[in-house]
Symmetry: C2
Subunit: 310 residues, 2 copies
């Protein structure tokens, strides 16, 4: 039994996964604040799974997906500002209390692994494009996460695709995230609303010109990210998840229309059949928690192999 956690800014999702990859238990709880709060959340989440019927002695590993930067192979979480964490070795802080190996991965990377598993382990090469507060992607090939050299693989959100586009929080102009990130859209929309992107889309439907421009930018940015992922990594499928994926068809129809419009004059782009290669992560899928469980299982296996062969 592997446990996977998705530690988000407000909620933590926890799943238990059996050897066949089936989710056998799932709980949600509020996320604590700061290093101590997050460590306690991890311990509490495992306890909550046990209370929900997962056998404590059967847990072999805990994998944690977290916002922020996690260097490949390390369990240090850096710059998880939404959780009040500057630098935390999460495995060192929680493994002694849990009594099992703990591994950590960036939440988008974990969700990429989980989204791939949720496709039934179809194999091949896929990307998970997370449209949330920010925009980032993870690339999975034959069930393995593409880690890259320095932990920036999949950072398509900060690729500039319009020299005259809006300024991004990263300092560049016309980044994918400046066009399509939830925080950037909310900032540019400027009207107070509980769900600013939805408010903007509703206004665009009422022919508000500012909203229509922002809606167009949203679709242009997502389409650019899809093209970049297909033309750089040649992924077969781009699965879209994250908070904005809750927009469902309103997002997907717009993205597919933009992909078609931008390919209209290009036989080469049309030959890629991009509109058919974009998929939405089913609502409520615990992709990041499931992926975190898989990261935990893989890391434990690597460690065992090192011990046996090294």
């Amino acid at each position: 039994m592997r446990v996977g956690l998705d530690v988000g800014g407000t909620k933590t999702d926890a799943v238990a996964v059996d050897a066949a990859g089936t989710i056998t238990g799932r709980v949600r709880l509020a996320t604590g604040w700061g290093p101590d709060g997050v460590v306690q959340t991890v311990v509490d989440a495992v306890e909550a799974l046990v209370a929900a019927g997962v056998e404590r002695g059967g847990i072999q590993s805990v994998g944690v997906g977290m916002p922020g930067q996690v260097h490949p192979g390390s369990s240090h979480v850096l710059h998880a500002v939404n959780l009040g964490i500057a630098d935390l070795d999460l495995a060192a802080a929680t493994a002694p209390r849990l009594g099992v190996p703990v591994s950590v991965e960036n939440d988008v990377k974990a969700a990429a692994l989980g989204a791939d598993a949720l496709r039934g382990g179809a194999g091949g090469t896929m990307a998970f494009l997370n449209l949330g507060t920010g925009v980032a992607a993870g690339i999975v090939s034959d069930g393995t996460l593409w880690t890259g050299a320095h932990g920036t693989a999949g950072e398509v959100g900060h690729i500039a695709v319009d020299p005259h586009g809006p300024i991004c929080t990263c300092g560049q102009r016309g980044c994918v995230e400046a066009l399509s990130g939830g925080a950037a859209i909310a900032r540019r929309w400027g009207r107070p609303a509980p769900l600013p992107v939805l408010d903007m889309l509703d206004a665009a439907d009422r022919a508000d010109p500012h909203a229509q421009a922002l809606r167009a930018d949203l679709m242009i940015g997502v389409s650019a990210a899809v093209r970049i992922l297909v033309l750089t990594a040649d992924v077969d499928v781009v699965v879209i998840g994250g908070g904005l994926s809750g927009l469902g068809d309103r997002l997907m129809d717009g993205v597919r229309a933009e992909l078609e419009a931008s390919a209209a004059a290009s036989e080469f782009m049309r030959s890629l059949h991009l509109p058919g290669r974009v998929q939405l992560l089913p609502a409520g899928s615990p992709a990041a928690a499931l992926g975190a469980a898989l990261v935990g299982a893989a890391r434990e296996r690597d460690t065992r192999e090192t011990v046996f062969h090294g």
Copy 2:
């Protein structure tokens, strides 16, 4: 002994590589036209290596790098227009005459493998960015080529990075190739010259405003490709080769200056240290031919394993 060929539009480069990866023989000859001409060139190139002292009986495989589309795992070359080839199974046409297995790879992908080997097999993740008539890249991770799902991995030349940029031959606007490809620059420069890109750079040095704009575009496009490769695949190093790499420091100084200027306002981009991660393939390096020899060796090994285990 492995033989590798780089079949270019005018010349074919051929190398023999021993088991340690050392180049032990090298010849160049003119490339023939059309399917028959290219098949004859492949046979002639191997004969020329033998004439130059390579032992015929010691040749275990021949790998061929070719322009055009080569589907992963196939030996069909499609759309190699500069060679007059629409569709050719090069292995079927040459292996019976050569008496050894023949494998085929796109020339830029082969050059990526070769450029990685020329770095001393440093491992890690690198990209080879080919700046020639067109622009394309190959990505190598731990000595293995990233093939992707449909053979379009590394096609960064047709990622649009400026919605107001020049029209690309692919039909899109503002592609990397429309800014930085040799053919696109020659077309936009419009002045007859044996080396139009060099002529344009010389005119830019004399403060010709049209040339200065084209020079700026060249550097902007290459910088965009570097950012895309680093932020999508997280390659450690981008090695620049192809015809335009002959511009040497005039190219590299401009690219590094543009990478620095575009990162000036972005702490995130500065943290990536991109100017230091761009390298020039040493002039005259037989990267594509060497890589083709490595492709041949790898394919032969795969086939043997299939026979033994399958």
